[in-house]
Symmetry: C2
Subunit: 409 residues, 2 copies
């Protein structure tokens, strides 16, 4: 594998297909410091494609750990205005935002969960306007992955650090459908395939899904009037098509906030806030989580659920066949970007307003009335198994098998 070549292809897919950077647009990149060499490639590619300027914000796991170890809750909650202004300024300048993700899945394992909650809460509230503009597709954005040593060692504990990092790069690039050449063209075909699934689901006008499997999941999900199944790309207010996640294998919409009932079991570990939550179930009544139990990470799970009013409700329903390219690798990435694209999933928290017709000019309150959940969090967790069945109930009462044994029926 010629990593440099593949990196260049990957960077083209991210810049062209992902954020779809326009001539003279600013690109803001967030990236782990260990991915420096790849960031140089991304940055050069962006400039070659006409970027006005590339701004990098580095994160460093060692410094994050030190911060959580030594800083008080009060300090962790202080978000300076200039930090908020950074995001608002570039959003107003219509920059494209790229998040390169890669982290130790258990980075904050030993940290007091109160500190984690306080810090996430403060940051989410401070950056609410920015996050809303992303989730509302006001601007183009993309999340893609980079291999860093700590994450690689978690995925491949048997390899030494260098080998593990190289191997994880290989998996990321393969799972992200990066080839030696023409990756941007291949992505066009891929996105069209996903879109065909979404078109089918939209044409069927389902009002409810019923999930069952042997694990114990037995869940009904109602969809609000005017919900839209989406896949692959979003379109900004200025008409720019972009792909928010690389990889992406999902077709998704929003549930009606108050229309979920039953019990759902997790099918993969869920990585949240530097902790792993595993083997958990949620009991749900009228859309609200009424019970949450986990064999691992229960305290963090409950903190997530109790972040705000909306974090007890759901914001996303996504379909991914069990036989997807990522899933077939049979690898636990411990990273939502990959694990969510290897499995049907739901998201706790905020819904994408873009999944509802005519949502553009409505307030958060008006959207809530229509069943669109609001929250400062949006966290995907995986529920797909190889024996998952989903029945779709149409407006006219007709029952249609949507998924059988984990795959499209």
């Amino acid at each position: 594998m010629n990593l440099q070549n593949l990196w260049k292809e990957y960077s083209k897919v991210i810049i062209k297909t992902g954020v779809n950077l326009q001539e003279n647009q600013i690109l803001v990149v967030q990236a782990p410091i260990e991915s420096r060499e790849f960031v140089h490639v991304i940055s050069e590619t962006a400039y070659e494609m006409g970027a006005k300027e590339v701004i990098i914000r580095w994160s460093d796991e060692i410094l994050i750990k030190q911060k959580f170890k030594y800083c008080s809750i009060e300090t962790l909650q202080e978000i300076p205005q200039h930090f908020i202004d950074f995001y608002i300024d570039y959003k107003n300048k219509k920059a494209a935002f790229l998040s390169l993700v890669g982290e130790d899945p258990e980075l904050l394992k030993k940290v007091d969960p109160k500190k984690i909650k306080s810090s996430i809460e403060a940051k989410s509230i401070a950056l609410k306007e920015y996050y809303q503009s992303l989730m509302g597709d006001e601007i183009s954005w993309n999340v893609a992955a980079v291999s860093i040593p700590s994450w690689a060692k978690a995925v491949f504990p048997e390899l030494d650090e260098k080998e593990a990092q190289y191997r994880l790069w290989k998996e990321i690039l393969d799972a992200s459908r990066i080839e030696e050449e023409n990756s941007v063209e291949l992505w066009k075909t891929h996105i069209q395939n996903l879109k065909d699934h979404a078109d089918y689901l939209n044409a069927m006008e389902f009002k409810r899904f019923h999930y069952t499997n042997k694990q114990g999941t037995d869940l009904t999900i109602d969809f609000p009037e005017g919900h839209i199944w989406r896949a692959g790309y979003g379109i900004t207010k200025d008409g720019i098509e972009f792909v928010a996640n690389i990889p992406t294998e999902e077709v998704y919409t929003l549930p009606h906030k108050k229309g979920i009932n039953g019990i759902v079991y997790s099918s993969k570990p869920f990585n949240y806030a530097g902790n792993i939550i595993d083997e958990f179930y949620l009991k749900i009544k009228d859309g609200k989580i009424v019970e949450a139990k986990a064999k691992k990470g229960e305290e963090i799970l409950n903190q997530l659920i109790h972040t705000d009013k909306g974090s007890m409700y759901f914001g996303e329903v996504a379909l991914v066949p069990f036989d997807s390219p990522i899933s077939n690798r049979n690898l636990l990435f411990y990273n939502t970007l990959f694990d969510e694209n290897a499995s049907c999933h739901l998201a706790i928290g905020k819904a994408y307003p873009t999944c509802l017709k005519d949502s553009e000019d409505k307030t958060v309150e008006e959207l809530e009335e229509l069943g669109v959940n609001d929250s400062i969090v949006h966290e995907d967790f995986m529920i797909g198994t190889k024996d998952l069945n989903i029945d779709g109930i149409r407006k006219n009462g007709e029952i249609i098998p949507v998924f059988r044994n984990g795959n499209w029926a």
Copy 2:
């Protein structure tokens, strides 16, 4: 050499002696991304010594080069408000500021000098309030060095990158008077020695210096009434003693803005804005540079001189014996922090107001009247040679040899 041990000692000297971090104070660090491992040590030391929070701003030479290659002059001149607010906010919060420096001395060699000038100018103007608060000792700050591959290769071109970086670390730590233990205590003695020299110069009440050497330097420098020779440490408005440079071997004051006449030759290459300026001389009349010629980097030198009105005048006169510990290494660091502490030097541009009695409440205009130069630049360049003689002329007309053959007379 146990690098980890010495790094810990170095970090203690920087945090305790350098910025003299107080309990619950914020530390802001600027550092090259290649010095990441050492930054982790510095950060941990700061937390151990009671830092409220450590904020790191990374710089990356590859990204800087890309920026100068691809961005227009207009883009290079745009300084976002949130960038300025970052510095003002932490200054107002009385943070301590640490700059860890290390750079390829010819980083911007191939860049259009107009781009460099525009960028430096825009940044200097935008951050003027912040820089003034540093130069006026409002807050504690420190500049210390870190070894990075590009710089190390410039100093030791015959070594491979890793060896060169290790070797440069050794030189930095030695030159910075870092020992296996008790370095903080040793620094106290060193600072006292420097202070003794300053006390002597202050007691002599010189009104003029006369510099001569065989290279051709023949220069008189008048000092303003009430000038103060300083060495080693500064004292913030809150009474915190700090050391602004590690290493520091100099005793310095300000010249009278209009009181310099003659010709002065550079004695070492002068590294400015990613370029090397070498073998140059300046002709000066009534404080103003009237001619500047360089065998290397003349265009960049002239751009520096023509930055603003004050950059044609001088802001600092510093004495360093030719037999100083750094000088005796007989090594060209191509980095002002080291080369200035190995040689008598002058600075083009802004003077430190703290070198004049009762300057605290005076405006920039009032200070100019008294002979204190103002500019957005302050750049040291080296003039000390092994045959440099300096005569001091006292108020009463008495002539006293201050330097003979490059050393204290």
